[in-house]
């Protein structure tokens, strides 16, 4: 349904096109620049008198003054409905495999393909019945989609109360088949389809209540779950310089996190990384469901060479999909890599608009946009009493690797956990390179707080001793301090560090973490007696090597208990007498 507004191009500056128009233009509506027979999708971002400035989601090469501009009258939206899981979309919701099938190796301009396959049949089971009172977000029926029960909703945008007039019986439907008729108080009748459109920049609020995010989200990464936990419905950020392991960490999280759906927003990053996920996930079995990992995953992919305006909107497309599946009572994890590229896209557009720049040329509204995005995370009670959650984890790629830059600072204000990656740790190959002293989390994790407090105190103490030793040397350090340092190094080496590429060590279950941490704590709390520092160093080296072996041992293998016994035996050898009796 296009509007009747007539417009034509009067200026081109990068991906910004100015059009002179006659008629009505809506801020944020989708427009098309018609150039060389192509319809280039764009969005109105500024209106000045009879000029509308649109940001074009494609390269603007070849656009001329006088080219027509058509307005759609609709905000930038994505189609919601069954069939989104396992898909790979670009930043605007076009499925990339379908584009590849049609157009080959390259991404052509001016192409738009629906995010949903309208031909695919679904096995519909009605939930509501004629006469029921419903409103936007009410469930009319369900269809099975991979491992989830996909609910068919009254579109979230339908305000007010309606009565179900008719509903189709159990049977096969497609996304574009009408499944129900609703009637409002004035006798108006509305057809309802499994698919409907939702504007991506508007949060979905069809729920009863927002809840505290107080249930831990287990990622199976030890330093995260034990030390800097994430909660379902919470948010966290991973800032780090390049090469510190952000991507490996995110990929591990996408694989092992205890959630129903994972949405990966590859925003302005390398295409190669998306391909890795794309090709690997279908081959990996999800231990929770026994099905392929890809079936619970959606990838929104706007890599760094793809048009920059679409990069800006891709995070909104991703979070809209996350909210949609949350509405089904599912735990959804959205991983955005990297939010800095999204911020840079805003900066590029703001620069072309000649807005007055803030710090490092980022626009003044950077903070509020970042806050608005992370605030779409949350745990909610839905109308039917079920609980759903969207957890958002964003990486930040700070310029120059320093956290004192606008994007990191704006992000830290709004997230609930901070996993800061350190160049020093990654240079020393201590992965994951989350800095144990600087990072923090406001959420409750899987271990008792006093146990973590003890371990963190030891880490701080160890680091202080290490600094001191650089000044006074090892011989000038008291034995007690030296032991604290060795214990801290030991804790770091066997627990904080984890080999993401090992099939066993790569993921540590909650139950194993609890068990191993208690075991470790017992070692750390032991008073050891050594003849000299060399003996102490040797002891911890040996113990560490056995412990690392233990980390690589599956829990159901007989060697697991054997190794534990071996470690305990070594501990007792050097423990002070009153301990061991």
């Amino acid at each position: 349904m296009g509007s009747k507004t007539k417009a034509s191009v009067v200026a081109v500056n990068g991906n910004l096109v100015t059009a002179a128009f006659e008629g009505v233009v809506i801020q944020g509506e989708v427009a098309f620049v018609v150039s060389g027979g192509l319809h280039l999708k764009s969005e109105v971002i500024r209106v000045e008198k009879n000029h509308a400035v649109v940001q074009v989601y494609e390269e603007t090469r070849g656009v001329r003054v006088g080219d027509a501009v058509e307005f759609s009258g609709e905000l930038l939206s994505i189609s919601l409905g069954p069939g989104l899981l396992g898909q790979v979309f670009d930043g605007l919701g076009n499925p990339l495999p379908a584009i590849a099938k049609e157009y080959g190796y390259f991404l052509p301009r001016g192409v738009s393909i629906s995010s949903l396959d309208d031909e695919r049949p679904w096995d519909f089971t009605p939930v509501a019945k004629p006469g029921d009172e419903v409103s936007g977000g009410s469930v009319l029926g369900t269809v099975p989609e991979n491992m989830v029960t996909h609910k068919i909703f009254v579109p979230f945008g339908m305000r007010g109360g309606y009565k179900v007039k008719s509903l189709v019986d159990k049977g096969s439907v497609t996304a574009k088949d009408a499944i129900a008729e609703l009637e409002d108080d004035n006798g108006g009748v509305f057809e309802i389809f499994p698919r409907f459109e939702w504007p991506v920049r508007v949060p979905i609020k069809a729920y009863e209540q927002r809840l505290m995010p107080d249930e831990p989200l287990v990622t199976q990464i030890r330093i995260v779950d034990s030390f800097f936990p994430v909660a379902k419905g919470g948010s966290f950020c991973i800032p780090g310089p390049f090469g510190a392991g952000k991507t490996v960490l995110q990929q591990a999280t996408a694989r092992f996190a205890d959630v129903d759906i994972v949405i990966i927003a590859a925003c302005g990053e390398r295409a190669g990384e998306v391909v890795e996920t794309l090709l690997e996930f279908p081959r990996i079995t999800d231990s929770r469901t026994g099905r392929s990992l890809m079936e619970r995953t959606i990838i929104i992919c706007n890599t760094s060479s793809m048009p920059v305006a679409a990069r800006e909107s891709s995070v909104y497309t991703a979070v809209t999909l996350a909210e949609y599946y949350r509405q089904m009572g599912l735990a959804v994890l959205l991983l955005a890599d990297s939010t800095s590229r999204w911020a840079q896209a805003m900066r590029e557009i703001s620069g072309r608009l000649e807005e007055i720049p803030g710090e490092e040329a980022f626009p003044a509204y950077l903070e509020s946009r970042i806050a608005g995005f992370y605030e779409r995370a949350g745990r909610v009670r839905l109308y039917d009493g079920q609980i759903g959650s969207v957890t958002i984890g964003g990486t930040v790629s700070p310029a120059g690797g320093t956290f004192e830059e606008p994007v990191t600072q704006a992000t830290l204000k709004v997230v609930g956990a901070f996993h800061g990656l350190s160049r020093g740790r990654s240079d020393a190959r201590r992965y994951p390179a989350i800095a144990p002293l600087e990072s923090w989390s406001n959420y409750t994790g899987i271990l008792a707080p006093e146990k973590i407090a003890f371990a963190r105190k030891l880490l701080r103490q160890g680091s202080a001793v290490e600094q001191m030793m650089k000044v006074v040397g090892e011989e000038g350090t008291a034995m007690d301090d030296y032991l604290a340092y060795l214990k801290a190094e030991f804790l770091d080496g066997v627990y904080l560090q984890q080999d993401a590429f090992d099939s066993v060590d790569g993921a540590t279950s909650q139950q194993r973490q609890v068990k191993v941490f208690d075991f470790l704590l017992n070692i750390l709390k032991t008073d050891f007696v050594f003849s000299d520092k060399a003996a102490a160093l040797k002891f911890f080296h040996k113990l560490r090597s056995v412990f690392v072996d233990w980390n690589y041992t599956p829990q159901d293998s007989p060697r697991f208990e054997e190794t534990a016994a071996k470690i305990e035996q070594r501990r007792l050898e050097f423990a002070a007498k009153e301990e061991s009796s």
């Binding site: 090469g243 590229r341 020393a428 690589y552």
Partner: protein, 431 residues
Amino acid sequence: MRKVYGRIDDILGDVVTVRALDVAYEDLAQVTTRYGVSLAQVIRIEGNKVSLQVFAGTRGVSTGDEVRFLGRPMQVAFSDDLLGRVFDGKGVARDFGPPIVAEMIEVAGPSVNPAKRVMPSRMIRTGIPMIDLFNSLVESQKLPIFSVAGEPYNQLMARIALQAEVDVIVFGGMGLKYDEYLYFKNTLEESGAMGHSVFFVHTAADPTLETLLVPDLALAVAERFALDGRRVLVLLTDMTNFANALKEIAITMEQVPSNRGYPGDLYTRLAQRYEKAVDFSDAGSITILSVTTMPGDDVTHPVPDNTGYITEGQFYLKNGRIEPFGSLSRLKQLVNEKTRDDHRALMGNMIQLYASSRETKEKKAMGFALNSFDERLIKYGALFEARMMDLDVNISLEKALDLGWEILAQCFEPEEVSLRSKLVEKYWPKD
């Protein structure tokens, strides 16, 4: 339909503005002055005011000079006849050879659909242990050499190019000194590689803006070779000169600078080039090896900083050696599982020990007493530098792995290195 306009309104830096109608964004034009003809490209249109960047610079351009629009964006000739030839930053032959009559292809074309990429899986062997063992280079990877001026980065790049088994080498030189260009040309000629190489060379003596076209020309040609099923290695040196030319234009166009004068879209501009590295499903591949010089050895400078976020790692060249800290190959995990079962473990472990050895060296320098483990760490560090890091070392990966175990055994007891007992039993030298 060629349109000619004879009135230049503004000349600002290397940008001229003319009044013209029906001009398409990014189209090319020719500016004819009494000193010659220069290529120009449309970079902004406002009503009938068209701004063009003039690649040869605007010195000598008169307000009365003629601007002729070509009605097409930048193109480059493509055919197998390109092999063995040398072109300048405009794509014009600079080797006095015959002009190329061939199909014209678009430069800076659309990006590859991620769904048509495959996972890189073939290692490129270089004979350099710091690369093969610690940061393996992988076909279709994009990897810069970070370095300060004066380091042998061009030599390193040439050496990797010659040892790599590829079908085509496309060389893009930006702001090169003439002797550097001759060095590459002679090296490739002597080794017989020139016959499957194409050169796009912009030297420091050429107009600055012509730098901007070099990566696009080189990558457009590389892309076509790759689509024909060939394995292409693209060499780009020095990308910092490319970034500086972008900065120049951005400032002329009064764009708000983001960091040290560089435009806010530096990341996007670099990424659009580097992302041309690809392994096509059922066609060839493009591997990009580039040089990024870091002013003042500062990795937080906007050019290396933005590059690092785009590329799949970097080789950090310092004091004539590839530094293990700061160097990284993100794709190594895709290949080093299949090489030998000790590759990954040894790689991580030797670097951890080398890090400790450096710390101990500092401790020694400050005059602290060393324990026996410290002494051995220092011995290890010296051996590691001499036998692994030295760029003259040229051995196969397998030999380098054996050498690694040998160095460890010379310095440590097996339990002092935290390697899995299974590997220690298998590889630790017995005598």
